[in-house]
Symmetry: C5
Subunit: 354 residues, 5 copies
């Protein structure tokens, strides 16, 4: 969290709309791909500069411009002229610690949300901010790094099967949102697996590391929750938006994504309840195990304490101790000590301390 807050705090005092890329530079260069399709055709390409896209604007076909890599600020700046975007929107696109939100600017809708997907290796998750500009017949999407998350959608466009080619830019936006929300389930699955592993560790051999792992999981949960909660409002906002940019037939599909979002939130809440239950179990099992140790050790100590007293008794150097002279003294004491031990063991057993 700190890196973006840091940059943001450095930006304090600058006028709003100042375009500075906040966030890590994740990709080599800004790559702009273009996909223009209608029911009958599909044109794909890569462009050097964003202003090359402007000629697609007036066509009746749907144009999808995907920008990956946000550090080349001048490229982003041209969007202002080509598509008439508000400077604050450009600022928000570049500022990668946005809270998911949806803003209707009349001629276009600006959507920003978090895409989370597992890293290729390791158990880490990668979080990336995705911004969408939904215009009348175009959609511009911004990613922080090049990824193949949207590749299946591109494939569906190329194949020309399904609804995608027949419907407008709003349905394309829905497809992107759907993909992003679907990825949350992948994360949920991973978290669920981690949680189950932890639970097994918890019943077998809990260590202080288990607690740290639980807290680590809790943090990831909190983080995911922070990304998903506002998404609910974003999508219900889109669904209810009385904008000509979103057709009624698309609203049903948005409600479907909305349901998925609620499900993700529900599962996160359940996870959270389970995690706090796990912390309880951890704490009580740790103290239980410690108590077990202390109990057994104390029992050993307690059995030997009277015995040690007895042997000390007959180690005294008094002149007149008749027992010492007796030939039966030693065996009698041995028997006495055996008796004491057995009595104490039985007593502990009856009290259920053993």
């Amino acid at each position: 969290m700190t890196p973006t807050i840091k940059k943001r705090s450095e930006k304090a005092g600058l006028p709003p709309g100042t375009l500075i890329h906040l966030g890590e530079r994740r990709s080599e260069r800004t790559r702009i791909t273009l996909l223009d399709y209608g029911e009958d055709h599909c044109e794909e390409g890569e462009v050097e500069r964003i202003d090359e896209c402007s000629r697609y604007q007036d066509r009746p076909s749907v144009t999808w411009i995907n920008v990956s890599g946000l550090h080349q600020v001048d490229q982003i700046e041209q969007l202002n002229q080509c598509f008439g975007l508000h400077p604050l929107v450009l600022e928000d696109i570049l500022n990668t610690d946005q809270r998911p939100k949806m803003e209707d600017f009349g001629t276009y809708i600006y959507i920003v949300l978090k895409m989370i997907y597992p890293a290729d290796s390791g158990s880490e998750f990668i979080t990336e901010q995705v911004s969408l500009i939904l215009g009348p017949r175009y959609l511009i999407s911004f990613q922080e790094s090049e990824g193949d998350v949207f590749e299946p959608i591109r494939e569906r466009v190329r194949n020309g099967k399904g609804r995608l080619r027949k419907l407008g830019a709003d349905y394309l936006a829905h497809a992107l949102l759907d993909t992003i929300v679907d990825h949350y389930f992948i994360i949920l699955e991973r978290l669920g697996e981690q949680e189950e592993e932890l639970e097994e560790v918890l019943t077998k051999n809990p260590t202080p590391r288990t607690l740290q792992a639980i807290h680590q999981l809790k943090r990831e949960m909190i983080f995911l929750r922070k990304s998903v909660w506002p998404l609910r409002e974003v999508i219900s906002g889109l669904e209810r938006a009385e904008s000509p940019l979103i057709q009624t037939s698309t609203a049903v599909y948005l409600r479907d994504i909305y349901d998925h979002t609620i499900q993700v939130i529900d599962n996160l809440e359940t996870f959270r309840d389970m995690l706090s239950g796990m912390i309880d179990i951890y704490l009580s099992s740790i103290s239980n195990r410690m108590n077990e140790i202390m109990k057994v050790l104390t029992i050993i100590a307690t059995i030997f304490i009277p015995l040690t007293f007895i042997v000390g008794l007959y180690g005294m150097n008094f002149k007149y101790m008749p027992e010492l002279e007796s030939p039966w003294g030693y065996p009698a004491v041995l028997v006495l000590m055996l008796g004491v031990s057995v009595f104490m063991l039985l007593y502990f057993k009856r009290k259920k301390w053993l």
Copy 2:
């Protein structure tokens, strides 16, 4: 939770409306039973393929189609053509980790909820997703497995007594919902019994297993709550729905179910409060019992420590120790040690440590 999330995460990237059965395959085959009834007649049968049902659609009588077993996706797909269901509805029917919800599509209402009932053997609960399609004069219900939960309703239809035969498909839908909510009370009863047993164990002999059982119960509570909370909205949504599919006379009965749902939620909340109270009692009773043990053992140790010191004292090998020479030395030391023990016991008693 994981199995369906897993499948769902595998589905990421596929277009919405792709029909894949998410969930365990619980029954051998998809079985479709049909019940067509009016005030005067009642026809019952089993059909092989769903499209055979379409001819019942135009009749003035009420048709109840029950589909049990969801893995034969092609059967479900035909509903699209026969009854004009939206592809997303079909997808939701097959996806068995839906959150309970109600959607009004104008010509039909789609309701999805969870049916929970105790397994025939053991203390396990079976959770099954039930989907209902309420049309003008038909009701299609989808179950994951064949069960006899709805059998009493079928019996009431056959008998022809009561309101069921006289009223429409909406009243039939109400009857199914009522049965499902009634089953929640059975689950509540079981949970209540388990809770009482645990409470008895808790006052008698709490073990770490008791804590795990409490947490297990808490989990079941959380799970049940997740199924019942959204149900409240579903039913109040139905009650308030200004749909011609639901008659005013049925609304009173829906309000009755709504009251039952609230009661289930109320009882669950009370359970939850009691369970967290039980965790408190468990923790304090465990520490109490441990402290009891430690106390008694420490008292034994403390009494013998001064005695062991005394016998050690007269075990010293100094040449000039007048006590050792005295014939009264030994008995005097014995009396001294008795005195010390009695004094300490009395002291502990006065301090109420014994």
Copy 3:
């Protein structure tokens, strides 16, 4: 809680409106008393069967029918014919684990709530479900057992003083509600007394039983809360009901009851806060006392450990130990040991462990 849930779970599958008495059978027989009064007259009597009451229905005077004992289902059933009550209302009257609620059926208002009063002996509370049917000029009240809780109101009617005789059935309903809410204050008083006693025990001599008593009190609190919370809605519902059955002048009195309900809830919340504070104090005082014990005992042990080492040292059998030969050896060791003890005691004192 379980008995009614149990019966209710047995009822699963039966059609709604099936009349079965859920709850304990508390009274010998169903007793129906009748009080018919106007500004000038007051007629009192007992009837055998409910249908005898129907002739009072058309009179201009106010008729109060009180039914105590709910197990004679056939009696209750006749209300359907006499007063045109909905079958679901009859079912709710018989089902004694209703959540407090208010339903406006147009020609009558159905109110159900919990009456709680202390038992004649012991510290137990008796909870009884009271149902009211408020019609244009009649009021039917249902109690589970015969009690004299409503006797003062009957007395006020007989005396003919006050507003009661001059006003309608709605004011009579208000009087019953007022009496029921007033009884909550009696319960609050009892709980308050118990809480004060517990607090005194807590500062003097807390035992594990104290914790159980606190939790018992908490449970009663939760139970009372469950009865009172929905009452708030019930009464504000009555107050705001735009029903001709409730006159504007009565609304002021309902607002008065509403204020009392809020006060009961407020007091319950305060109790709850205090009880959880008491659990905290209990836990810390128990651990405090245990620590006290352990501290003193450990101090005793620690003082004797070095002394036991010293006497052991001079119990060694080495041939050449010059101290043993010295005539001052023994007294010197005694002095040394005294010194060590005094030093340790002073050290503990300075560290404030004593």
Copy 4:
């Protein structure tokens, strides 16, 4: 809390509007002072009976009647005739455990709230119920005991400076409310001081008494909160009341009081958070200190245990123990034991247990 609840529970069954003074009798007699003022004149006096005030009612000047002492019920009763107050209002005035509320009766507004001020001596707070009846050109205020809290306002009226003499009875009511809310800040200041003292004790030398003091403070907080929370609604209710009794110019001043109330609530919430933090710190510091003790004592014990074993070893009476014969035996053992002690101390030091 109990005394009023007790009396209230005794009142159960009496008809509403029965005038009984609930609460302690705090003053000798009911004292009625009268202040009649306009822009040009100011008349002050004391009256014996409330009905003497009625002649001021028709005057164009503002009349402030202050009644202190509520146990002379007959005096209060006359208000009914003189000012046409509703019986329930009179009942509420006498019943001194009212929740703060505001009721608009059309011709007058009834306001009841709690005045809290520090006692003249000690750290106790006195809570008194203040009722206000705001009429067209009169204000009647009821206090439980004679106090000089409102004296500064009286003084401002006498001086004739400021807005008070120029404006109506609603501004006078605002002045009284303002004074009462200002007194909450005095209480907040005292609580804040107590909290700071406790915090200092907590860092220096926490005892079980500290915990009880924290809980005592928490209770006072809860009590204050109970008085202040509903006040917020009362004042926003007055501000928004579309009553001709409250002029628009006064609404700005009421909003000012509203802001103060919010500030009191804010501060109370902050206090609450701090107090629960203090309980955490208390518990951990107590256990920390105990652990410190146990640690040092156990270390002492552990060092001497091996030493005691060694001296016991050479206290054995075997015939053939070569060490015992050697002249270097004794010094060697002494050196060995020194070595063991030093080793253990170093080990403990390295492990940071010392």
Copy 5:
């Protein structure tokens, strides 16, 4: 918190609108700077008395009057005459413990909020109350001390670049609010750094001081939260205000600030969750470490207890103890004791206590 509450409690009883400066006197004197600008000109200056500003009021240009230092009450008082401010507004400006709020007085809008910035040295934060009076073509800002927080805005005005010179006083107000909110991110960054440091300490070597530091951080969080939460309402109030003082084009910029505020709140909530997780980890790690110590020490004690018993056994002075006479007695006992130790160590190892 206490100083202002103290002064405020001293003010109890004074009429509202009494101008007294509550809060520390932070600057030497009240300094009034003036900045008058339009699209083409920019005039800057410092004035002695506020009434000198009134001539700028009628000009078409935007006038920004900045007052730093609030203790010269007479200066503030003149605002009443020059700009027609309500006395309560003046009182609120002087009273520096205001809760952030926004009030629309028709001809001007009064905004009060908290500016928090890090002190030049140390890790302390300085909190200052900033009041803004937004009039038709003027903005008056009040600061408690002279600071250069607003200097960058002044610079932007002077440079004449950007939107600032072209737009009205509402955009200037937005610029000030934006700067203030931007400074919250600086504070967040600092708190985040402190939190990370604490976390590192927590995993390495937690001490009671760590807990106090966590609680200190929690307090700062609570304090910041108290300043930021109401800000949300303030800014959404401004955004939605249907005031001619705020132009539609500015509303977009206000929504931008609103988003930032939400982000600050979000981050604070996440911090809070993390801090309570840290308290859990602290408590369990402390008890863990203590348990570690106790375990090792007890193990040492337990191994030596049986050994000490054995050596005591052969220290007894019985005449007839055959073992003592045997030449193999001593070595045999040594071997026995070695065996016992090894056995116990192995047992502890298998039980995983070592």
